[in-house]
């Protein structure tokens, strides 16, 4: 088992190096001069420009910049943002809890709603329930979520005024030494109403972000269940007179979960892509919006650091899924 895990990790190292090259390389070929962008309409003299470029290290050969980047990386330093002049890693971790909270809640919604729907639809294959839910799932899967988000805002915040428009919690609540996870902070603070406030701010973005994973998980669960239900051992169990609920609960569900877990793992990357759009629409102060802003501001170090961190997180989650998969399904280990 240990060998299996170690092997998996070793296998990742070349990819890791590749990722640093991509993150570094991209940013160097981005057109647009960050120094000029800093100056705006006001502009600056050529001498001043050269001085600043030198100060920022943009005038050195590429390979030197790359080695420097790796060296700094090894020391846990991703450089400083050109816009705020603060360490990129600090900025990343200041915003990451917001994205993580949103992502986890979205995933929670997707699994808690998606899996039962998929199971029920498979059991009642062909029923109106199956057709209605799977039809809806396909609509969800086809949804341009940036538009979906706008519609929900118009309806729930605009017309009905049920949910707040943006932000993470009512400004009344303030947690000086918070963790950045608003729900957790609200719970810990013990202030009445704080949790409700945090949840009401979270619900729309989470629903929007959950839309596509929910559809995928429901569909995937249904087809995995159908497959398992058709297997011989399930039929045998049924033939032997085992109660249908037990058949589904004990035998079918457990086996059907293997592909579903893989799907859930694969959704993490998708979730990050969705977060870019969701955070932009809801002004959610997270990583996705930060990346879009950094790209448009040509904030080299932030784009570079952000790309790297996100790729690392996606890779890490995939590794975990791989390992879990190996645990559940011993055959994989010896392939």
């Amino acid at each position: 088992m240990l060998r299996f895990i170690l092997g998996k990790i070793l296998w990742l190292i070349p990819t890791l190096i590749g990722i640093t090259i991509v993150a570094f390389g991209f940013v160097r070929v981005l057109p647009g001069d960050p120094v000029l962008l800093m100056a705006g309409e006001r502009g600056l003299s050529p001498e001043r420009h050269a001085e600043l470029a030198h100060q920022l290290g943009f005038d050195r050969p590429l390979w030197q910049q790359y080695l420097d980047f790796i060296w700094q990386l090894a020391h846990g330093n991703l450089g400083d943002s050109l816009v705020t002049h603060k360490p990129v890693l600090g900025e990343f971790f200041a915003l990451f809890p917001a994205t993580l909270e949103l992502g986890v809640c979205a995933m929670f919604l997707a699994v808690v709603i998606g899996v039962p729907i998929g199971v029920l639809a498979a059991i009642k294959r062909g029923s109106w329930f199956d057709q209605a839910t799977m039809g809806t799932a396909l609509v969800g899967y086809s949804m341009p979520i940036f538009w979906w988000g706008l519609l929900l805002i118009i309806l729930f915040s605009g017309i009905l005024q049920w949910t707040p428009v943006s932000g993470r919690i009512s400004l009344m609540y303030y947690f000086p030494n918070g963790t950045g996870f608003m729900i957790w902070d609200a719970l810990m603070s013990g202030q009445s109403g704080a949790l409700t406030s945090a949840l009401s701010h979270l619900i729309l973005p989470a629903v929007v972000l959950a839309t596509i994973p929910l559809a995928v998980i429901a569909r995937q669960t249904r087809s995995a269940m159908l497959e398992v239900l058709g297997e011989d051992y399930v039929r045998t169990a049924r033939a032997k007179g085992m109660p249908p609920r037990r058949v589904v609960g004990v035998h079918a569900l457990r086996n059907a979960m293997i592909p579903v877990i893989t799907t859930i793992g694969l959704q993490v990357g998708m979730l990050m892509a969705g977060a870019i759009l969701t955070e932009t629409i809801f002004s959610w102060p997270g990583i996705g919006k930060w990346m879009v802003d950094s790209i448009s501001r040509r904030d080299y170090p932030s784009v570079q650091g952000g790309l790297l961190m996100i790729a690392l997180i996606v890779m890490f989650v995939n590794l975990i899924v791989d390992l879990l998969y190996g645990l559940i399904n011993p055959r994989i280990r010896h392939r």
């Binding site: 057109p31 000029l36 100056a39 001043r48 428009v165 400004l171």
Partner: protein
């Protein structure tokens, strides 16, 4: 004290930490995150709104609602007859804020003034480049390194500035955000602890509000400074709720989640005015949006061709469709609220027939040109692409084919500065200090034509002489006359099509009182009150 009252007191303390009952809180839905809290290295209004306006003071300040100068941290000042020495008498007993980890041991004095300027001009100052990429663009941009010859401390409460040449706008420059006065004691302490960068994270100033906390891209919190030298501001807490989307800002305002917001979308202004819980203050912005021809290239080197194109463009349509009425057609390069604005200038009226005739007379046929439209929204121009689309269809009516080109914003700024640039460029300017020199010399002077800040590359000797003379004179009446003449020359030569001056709107809850709009576009909350 009975147990019961102790309990009550305890409950009250809890309420206070929640920012609730008793404390008056003003919430401002701001449009973007500040880049930092040290105003000097930055140039964006958003950053100044969050740093210099609430937290800092300057030696002299703009009187609220005007571009006139009034005493700030300097109680009074003397200018020598040759206009070369400025002596400031500093206010006594002014206290800096206390923040976590720093409590000032002394009052504001001359050392703080010297430090605040020295760090921007002196390469040896430890704060000259205290974090990677920190540079003092405004200090350089306002030409301070050339203008200021020396700054001396005469005594603890007197500072003398010596200039290298007379410069009429200098005093106004000192009221700008980059000239905010920092605490030297705090800076030294941070330097000693090797965390200089914190001066940009946790600001310490003398202003009406002291900084409490910043949660990145979400919320900034301030509390009122009880010792403020002009008197404590009416509210107890000030909160910036960072809300980049204008439609969302508006909804939050209507829902009462904030009480005041900047930059509403022009499309929503009517709806805001119709809301009985909201009032909308408005005022012409100190800005101009223009289309600059490349006057070094044929056929745009001929004033009559430029004039003809100006007449072909329907500016009223741009005001309607792009500004949604939130602007006025511009005829001069400076906005009407600025002193020396020449009211008597007649704009080239929209007249496609006449324009066509003039083009024919100039021998221009089948003209094909580029119109550059920037990719971003600016205070003076809500949507440059839409403007360009309108121009394109107007020009087509006089037989001119226009292609719209656009680049990424940084690239756009750079490429538009190239004298070999092909085409006319849409751009604009927002005033820094209310002086006409800040528009006319910066955007249309001959030296600016060389540096490229003059996007028309238009160097007219007559015009340049007029504005140079005006800069060096200290007689306001004389300066006014010179600038009025300069505007006449400008209109004759038409290096630009002056498009519009945008109107600035400030919607706020009817509960808010005492807010004064600044013509310079900043947002300042000192003196603002809110009724329950």
């Amino acid at each position: 004290m009975t147990i019961r009252s102790m309990l009550l007191a305890g409950a009250a303390a809890v309420m206070m930490t929640a920012g609730g009952a008793g404390a008056k809180t003003l919430v401002y839905c701001s449009e973007a995150s500040p880049e930092g809290f040290d105003p000097a290295p930055y140039t964006s209004g958003t950053t100044f709104d969050a740093s210099s306006h609430p937290v800092y003071d300057q030696l002299v300040e703009f009187k609220p609602g005007t571009t006139e100068i009034e005493p700030g941290l300097a109680e009074s000042w003397d200018v020598s007859d040759d206009g070369l020495t400025y002596t400031f008498n500093l206010r006594k007993g002014v206290k800096f804020h206390s923040v976590e980890g720093f409590t000032p041991s002394r009052d504001f004095n001359a050392d703080d003034v010297i430090f605040s300027f020295d760090r921007q001009g002196n390469k040896d100052n430890p704060y000259y480049a205290y974090a990677p990429g920190v540079s003092y663009e405004y200090y350089a941009g306002m030409d301070m390194p050339t203008i200021i010859k020396s700054i001396e401390k005469v005594d603890d409460y007197t500072v003398k500035f010596t200039l290298s040449e007379p410069n009429a706008p200098f005093l106004a420059d000192l009221a700008m955000d980059f000239a905010s006065i920092m605490s030297k004691e705090y800076a030294d302490k941070l330097a000693g602890e090797d965390r200089k960068a914190d001066i940009n994270n946790v600001p310490v100033g003398t202003g009406p509000f002291s900084f409490v906390a910043y949660q990145k891209d979400a919320v900034i919190r301030y509390k009122a400074n009880p010792d403020y030298f002009k008197g404590k501001t009416p509210v107890d807490d000030l909160i910036f709720a960072i809300t980049p989307d204008p439609a969302v800002r508006m909804q939050k305002l209507q829902a009462g989640e904030c009480q005041i917001m900047p930059y509403p979308s022009p499309a929503d202004i009517q709806a805001l005015k119709d809301d009985s819980n909201i009032k909308v203050d408005e005022q012409p912005g100190l800005n101009v949006a223009y289309l600059a021809y490349n006057t070094t290239q044929a056929p745009f080197d001929k004033p009559e061709v430029r004039k003809a194109l100006n007449m072909a463009i329907n500016k009223d349509a741009i005001i309607d469709a792009v500004f949604q009425g939130a602007g006025q057609v511009a005829k001069n390069p400076i906005p009407p609220t600025m002193w020396s604005y020449n009211k008597d200038i007649k704009d080239d009226a929209y007249d496609p027939e006449q324009a066509k005739k003039m083009l024919d007379e100039a021998g221009v046929k089948d003209l094909e040109m580029n119109i550059w439209a920037m990719p971003v929204q600016r205070p003076y121009m809500p949507n440059a692409r839409r403007t360009a689309e309108l121009m394109q269809s107007d020009l087509a009516k006089v037989g001119v084919t226009a292609n719209i080109v656009s680049y990424e914003w940084g690239e756009y700024l750079k490429k538009s500065k190239d004298p070999t640039r092909d085409g006319a460029v849409i751009l604009g300017w927002t005033g820094d200090n209310g002086d006409p020199d800040n528009f006319l010399a910066v955007l249309l002077g001959c030296s600016a034509a060389e540096s490229g800040a003059n996007r028309a590359f238009w160097c007219d000797q007559k015009f340049d002489d007029l504005i140079t003379k005006a800069r060096q004179s200290s007689d306001q009446a004389e300066r006014t006359k010179l600038y009025e003449q300069a505007q006449e020359v400008f209109k004759e030569q038409a290096p630009w099509d002056t498009i519009a001056h945008s109107t600035v709107f400030m919607p706020m809850s009817t509960k808010v009182s005492g807010y004064v709009m600044s013509p310079l576009g900043g947002h300042d909350f000192y003196g603002v009150d809110i009724s329950e």
